[in-house]
Assembly symmetry: D2
Homo-oligomer: 392 residues x 4
């Protein structure tokens, strides 16, 4: 395989015209055009860049999308919402149109068999790789959050059972997992950027390992949970007893709308709650709300209230408010993950990459949630990658 | 020297009837009587306890104090202010009276020569050690914050120059440094719990090293700065650009009153600002206020507003409010530091112990400010201490 | 009738050992003993006191209660929770025991017929009035919040239908309404301090008017809603467009537990939402959460986030956090309402007193919600009462 | 005089290219072009519009300015800062240029005598009125805040003393007062939108009355103080005792820079503190900070912390954070005040108009600070104006 720092890398979005994919695409083009800097990109920090990562100017964007519209129009909308500087959407309009032409129709549940849908997705991935002469294509799921996968249907337990079910015309896979299946079948690593099941059903995890492919997930931590995973270790290492931790997330964007459905939100609240308990070592009381407030647009306001006990039982509290733009926070992490997962592939790694837990609320292959520990694991991994040099 | 886990340790407070010393004393007695738990005590966490620390039931308290009054009365006041459970103050009244009898009059600036004052303090320390058969006496400065030490008067540059100045009847030492001088002269380690100069003037740092004594400081981080040193690394490792960080501290207690004097506050604002700049790698705009609001009593409310920039220049913000009781947060750390510095002494360490930076806003001997890194350094130190066993 | 300012007034609590009733009782006794001031008592402000109100030292407390225990013990618990100064609970213990002896067993749903239960309650009220030679007995419902009353069963439409249903052995009345029925039957005014239906079913409203009795309600506004009803008029009169208003209420006390049941919370969220819409003149988006967080004890923390639009569509926001003790905020209002409703009775008023809307989230007989307008209506009413003099 | 609702009105800005004047001008043009609505304009609420106010499409803008640049460029800058929608600045560019041509060079202190400067300003005002055939020209001071006027120099005590001093070549007038002098001399009413002295020196107040001219001021309340004047009455009418009220204002704009100079800030902090004390009836402890944080641009974040006491001495607290855009909040009030002061002139009123206190932190001619009371006074005044009809 070629030197990692000169390799041509493809990003294939599931949900290619969503807010996160659009912001990522605009950002990539803007950086390449010298119109934007690297703020928010972890992979440009020297400790991470040291790993020898794919250059941004050799990344090609494609993807699947079920919705109509165009990237240029989505960019304008995001620009009106304050996510993207207005000038960028205008200047990059023609380049966005070029990307648009690489976006293929996504899979709509219930239209045709899952076998044929997966075959089509895999064919799209192979065609993309060939057409653009790519060393690696990383599939990134940034589509709407799905409900948690049902517990253990037999068809999802092993690759063999899964193949048999698909052959039999069954449709056992959640939508996100269908894409992960197609990715692994066509030799592509996968990034589960949302809490959707994706590659985390046992049959697919086994398939990735068998295929020698790395993957990373799930559910990027970009805001309130990010803050939690630095505050909780503070309480823990200072021996302060957290008594309740109440969280409210007000979201206006498409994700907010999806999460207004309690079934979908179940995935999110589950991954959000994981970290706190893991870090503190005990369950913590307090509500965790995710509310859709359309008026907020692409922005999110989260409020957390922590009640804790100190010496001699004295009761104290801390509150924080986070006012962030989820797409702005997510987009640079997408670029980071594409570069890092692609690097993992060039190093011959297979299965979940636990050292990428730094990016996720529910880190696959890891039970470390404290951000500082995750950072150190990531930096150490990058140093090992640096030592491994440019070829696998 | 005896096994560290059976040794008899003295705590000698400078400011023995202040809020922190009183809360520490009440807490120590309460824990010993089985009336309180260890919440807030870092030295009871397994990773730290592993170092082999002095048992709490062999710690004896004494100290100097310039103010009148009694510990029992101070405990009642703190109890009215919600710092100490009312029942404790009552139940422990007679034990507090016993401690009170070990408190000696503090040094009042301008009354007599610094030479004679230092001699008297040193004699008090030696008498305390002898009378109670203590293996180690740790002097802890919890008295009111002094202004920053003047830049480099000749008399404070070397031990020799200092001795000559004292012999000549001069009074070159800030109050806190006079106590550090006496401590080092009588073989006692020192903890600079406040931002006052204490052992940090060059002559005294040299004296401690020459005397083979460890010390730790300065300015315990117990609230807003503690939070800053976990949040700032989050922004840094996520490549988010902090544009301004504004801080307001409303304090009602004695420390608030002291800090209402801008000269005294200068020490505090300096140590509070250190960490942020060190972690982020650049100066950050924004005010840092410390205000005396008597109505708040022993409590403190701090509000911080962080304005930061993400991908494509998007501007976001985070705020937090910390509502804490400074004495409750400080007292268990005093016990931790006494045990850890005493352990450092038993290990034969001399000079500032950088691994105790975890406890301080301005860590002596270290430029590490991120709490998680400080925690790891502390845990590693404790592991080494464990390996070193019970005798130096 | 006697001069209002010398009259002997009874307070009869429904829920006489709950947090609000206990705090009110302790407070009344403490003020009378010179151990506490009038902070929080609206009826001691000169504009309200002008109405000529019953003196506090002639108020006698009694009530119904379904729970076991004693007022003295409840006072101790409230004292541990920071609601009542510890010393008060101790000093007033014997007086509390005297009140305890006047507390009768409350009505338990399903035990016996509603007819006989109502007769027993009415008998208790008459006995209390006679025994203590009271000019007026005001029944105050401070028991747990019930679900909203079912829409219009025939039996609750008119006094006649209600009597017939009770005669027929039916149980058409919600618990709170049964007490209101008994109150009106025995000549007692009523205060609906909670959002429970109480006197607001049509049959009872008609009964009160027929009996010549005044009443007031519902759902005292003591915290977050209070703040809303001063902020919303600010936005309205400044022509700023409120786009969303999100509210979170974290409650630890008994009321929190009751409200954790969505059926019961329905009453509360309904009355909390009324005011905002009435003041702004349009529905407002945004969640309204009430969460039970046991750790908070008798305290409540509410967080509100208001997103609004200004000139040229500029989007701005405001947040507030309210940290209050509900029982402390409620108790003085109970005393105020007892005095004011008793005064309304002495003035010969009948039915809901709209000018008491100042105290309530869902003001009976009024659609005014802005606190300042309610205050002016109250002050004007008191001025009229003053002019009317001491007898009806 | 013509019917107030058809009259041609001039606005003459002192500081015509500042943020507030530019936003006001853009807004006026945008509303006239049907590109923006009336959000934020009090004078469009029916209770106020009832007064019979000058139509927006007959308002002509002019002004003085000491700074170079153009309105179109300032509009672009404000658009980049999120104050003005980007499209507006572009669409209105040519109209802004037309306004620009009516802007005259402002008075620079120390250049020439105050007598000649005042004559020039007055000549500019008369020329503007004549050239545009205006019924009324209202001078509005939106220039940078000046320090408080020195206490009572003789020259500022009476019109006669002032004239004599000017004749003698002295320069007794603060800059803002020089403009007020010229306004009154040329028959123009005046709005003191900032805390600068303006018309509030005794000689000028007397001059306005003698000239039969109305004026309004001072220091528009647009954010944190606005909120204070609705919250403070809530505490007062609920008999809750405010123990401390701490305020922090972080400002990034030009006003922030001006106020970073403590001399200038003195005007602001004085007017901000007035209201609270007046409403609560007693002085309140707590700091009041105004900080310049350039990073915040045209935006402001204020944090307030109120500590209060309830029944039985229970201590509670409330915090709020206000995130607003000062220019957006101020601009519609400028249009309101121009229309209302012009109406006052048509009604023949002279001197300060106390009923316009609704708009100000330091209401001239009034000691009412509670917003709701101010609103009622304004509405009543408008009703009287309506009754008075279209001519004075």
């Amino acid at each position: 395989m070629s030197d990692s720092t000169t390799q041509r890398t493809g990003v294939w979005f599931v949900g290619a015209r969503g807010s996160v994919a659009t912001t990522t695409t605009v950002g990539l083009l803007a950086i390449r055009a010298g119109l934007a800097g690297h703020t928010g990109m972890v992979s440009e920090l020297p400790q991470v860049a040291a790993a020898g990562l794919a250059p941004l100017d050799r990344i090609v964007v494609g993807g699947h999308e079920v919705a109509d519209g165009s990237l240029a129009k989505r960019a304008e909308e995001l620009s009106a919402g304050g996510v993207i500087p207005p000038a960028l959407a205008q200047v990059l309009a023609s380049e966005l149109t070029a990307v648009d032409e690489r976006i293929r129709p996504g899979v709509v549940a219930g239209h045709g068999s899952q076998r044929s849908a997966a075959d089509r997705v895999a064919a799209d991935l192979r065609a993309f790789r060939t057409e653009h002469d790519l060393d690696s294509v990383v599939v990134v799921d940034v589509s709407s959050t799905e409900p948690p996968a049902p517990e253990g249907p037999a068809a999802l337990r092993t690759p063999e059972a899964l193949e048999a079910a698909l052959d039999a015309g069954e449709a056992p896979l959640p939508g996100s997992s269908l894409y992960a299946y197609a990715a692994f079948r066509s030799g592509c690593p996968f990034v589960a950027f949302t809490p959707s099941p994706g590659p985390r059903v046992p049959a697919l995890a086994a398939l990735a390992t068998a295929a020698g492919l790395p993957w990373a997930g799930s559910d990027a931590k970009t805001g309130e949970t990010l803050v939690k995973t630095v505050l909780a270790p503070m309480f823990a290492t200072r021996a302060l007893k957290v008594r309740s931790w109440s969280s409210v997330n007000l979201l206006g964007g498409g994700d907010g709308q999806t999460l207004a459905d309690p079934d979908n939100a179940a995935s999110k609240t589950a991954t959000k709650a994981h970290g706190l308990e893991a870090i503190l070592g005990h369950a913590v009381d307090g509500p965790l709300h995710i509310d859709f407030v359309p008026d907020l647009g692409d922005w999110k306001t989260a409020w957390d209230m922590v009640s804790f006990e100190g010496f001699l039982g004295t009761r104290m509290s801390m509150q924080f408010t986070w006012s962030g733009c989820d797409s702005s926070l997510a987009a640079p992490l997408v670029l980071d993950l594409v570069r890092l997962v692609s690097r993992a592939q060039s190093l011959g790694l297979r299965g979940p990459v636990p050292e990428l837990g730094f990016f996720f609320k529910d880190p696959a292959g890891s039970d470390v949630h404290a951000l500082s520990s995750q950072w150190e694991a990531l930096v150490a991994w990058c140093a090992r990658a640096a030592a491994a040099g440019g070829s696998a």
